[in-house]
Symmetry: C2
Subunit: 325 residues, 2 copies
């Protein structure tokens, strides 16, 4: 299948690697709102201006949209669904119903398929939640993120006066994870589940105490958590905190039995050296599913909840039955 | 939806609990090849002779078949698929393609849906394998079982002369699990991955040394593993080893990145106080999916690979989008 990528940031690069490594996919082009001449792709795929995208309609089977959830995807995914099968990794949980409705309207009109929110959360973590919830309807689900870099929280620190650079790690609290695994069904505050660990490069002469105070009291981002702040040099930040690792666990603890006498846990855990390359990899297999659903006549907005898992796989039905079931 | 259960062993009881606890399901009857008068169900559901099952055709939306994979399911699932939507937990991995083909022929002819192999392995573990494999095509998958009771291995010990009763635990070797988690991509023998722990009640005057030797040298079952054998009283076996706990982990370690430079692990772990009640719970939600697929006009044999995860859930699409994605 012929794939186009919209946007060439971290996730766009992750999709590029996954698509070029997939034997059943061809990367046709990367589309950008920047000057195409300013971008050289890792794979050598051509870079084309976003404004020309509709002219490529007959050359592309699925577009994978790698924009931001805050300002790009809300308009871009519905706009592109008017002409293409589309995939995105929209991750603003509160706005998913509205985004789904917007993409659905556009994709129904065009007869195309649009699968939204195909990353790992939302995405694979959502699948873990629905599978665990379906098998254990009487129970409680918990999501722990990390240890990993939160780009949103890192950006929030960088906006503080006197901060030159920063990296924020979200760290699950092991004692909280253990309580869930032990079927204690705890009720947690945000502070009970995660720590926030900040590595900050201050500008020369900056007031470090003021920076630390500004971080720790920042509403929503840091105030509800126990937060540590360490100041380091730009060199050390680059050396020790240059990557974008992430991961986490979805754990559901639930009871079975005539009198709900049996405890059970279902746990799904990711450990990722690179968050964007793994996200890109999921987007690529979601594109495979979108194309198959389109080919069989489906249209409208979808999520991974609507996708038969076999459609994500490059293996044939015979291989799946013989080796993976 | 109106559910029938075929067979009232451990798994049948597990299905009964899950079905009677589901607000959208009604348990119509349990069917048995034993004397119906000899069985009293936990829920009070009527028990009907297997031979009368076809006469109930119009009263049942989905039959959940809870027979054994060795001798019951190979003929029973295709036979019943001629008249009913059916679910089973067929778990003889090597014979799955043949069983699938047999059920497919029958279900296509009748216009019914038959979802096979809906336990946790095959079943939910299979879903973990396909999701992990799809996102990380370059990698290796490993399945660890336990710590948990293997009924097949317990039965094998019971067949040894001088053995009154026995329980066998399959135990994953933690060092092997850690190697996989550390992205070492190990090549394992059976002995590297699991221990077999046996608790045996000997008959009075039995030759314990001979029993231990017979266990440890039993081909396929125990010879390929490091096996421990402990002799205990029937009372102690009942007290300490009376349950049927099980579980395990599917772990895939795979690489992403333009040069496959990033390591990642995807891990799915179950910890079950009761293997048959959890299996019964999955069978129940698979029945929900089968009925929905049948209602939309599908037919033939399916596996969980073919089921959109939303079909397993009792939640509405709106609830799923708002709270679970």
């Amino acid at each position: 299948m012929r794939i186009g990528i919209v946007g060439y940031g971290n996730i766009g690069r992750g999709v590029e690697a996954a698509v070029t490594q997939a034997a059943d996919m061809e990367l046709v082009a990367v589309f950008t709102r920047r000057d195409p001449a300013s971008i050289t792709t890792a794979s050598g795929a051509p870079v084309i201006a976003y404004d020309e995208i509709v002219s490529m309609k007959s050359d592309i089977d699925v577009l994978i949209i790698c924009g931001g959830s805050a300002t790009d995807l809300p308009w871009m995914t519905p706009e592109l669904a008017a002409n293409f099968n589309v995939i995105d990794s929209f991750d603003n949980h509160a706005n998913i119903p509205q985004h789904f409705a917007n993409v659905n309207t556009a994709a129904f009109k065009s007869g195309k398929v649009g699968i939204i929110s195909c990353g790992w959360d939302p995405g694979y973590f959502s699948l873990a939640r629905i599978l665990a919830d379906s098998a254990l309807p009487d129970g409680d689900s918990y999501t722990f993120w990390g240890r990993g870099v939160s780009q949103g929280h890192s950006d929030a620190i960088r906006r503080i006066e006197g901060v030159k650079d920063a990296r924020q790690y979200t760290v699950p609290i092991e004692a909280a994870v253990e309580k869930v695994r032990n079927n204690e069904h705890p009720e947690f505050t945000a502070r009970d589940m995660h720590l926030r660990e900040c590595w900050v490069v201050a500008e020369d002469g900056a007031d470090k105490a003021a920076i630390e105070e500004a971080i720790k009291t920042m509403p929503n981002y840091f105030e509800p958590y126990d937060t540590t702040v360490e100041f380091i040099s730009q060199e050390e930040l680059g050396e020790k905190h240059g990557g974008l690792p992430h991961g986490g666990s979805v754990i559901r603890s639930g009871r079975t039995g005539n009198n709900y006498e049996f405890n059970n846990t279902v746990e799904f855990t990711l450990n990722l050296d690179s968050n964007p390359y793994f996200t890109g990899s999921i987007l690529a297999c979601a594109a495979r599913a979108a194309f198959r659903m389109y080919e069989e006549g489906q249209c409208g907005a979808k999520t991974l909840f609507d996708v038969p898992p076999a459609y994500l796989s490059h293996h044939s039905r015979e291989e799946l039955l013989a080796h993976m079931l």
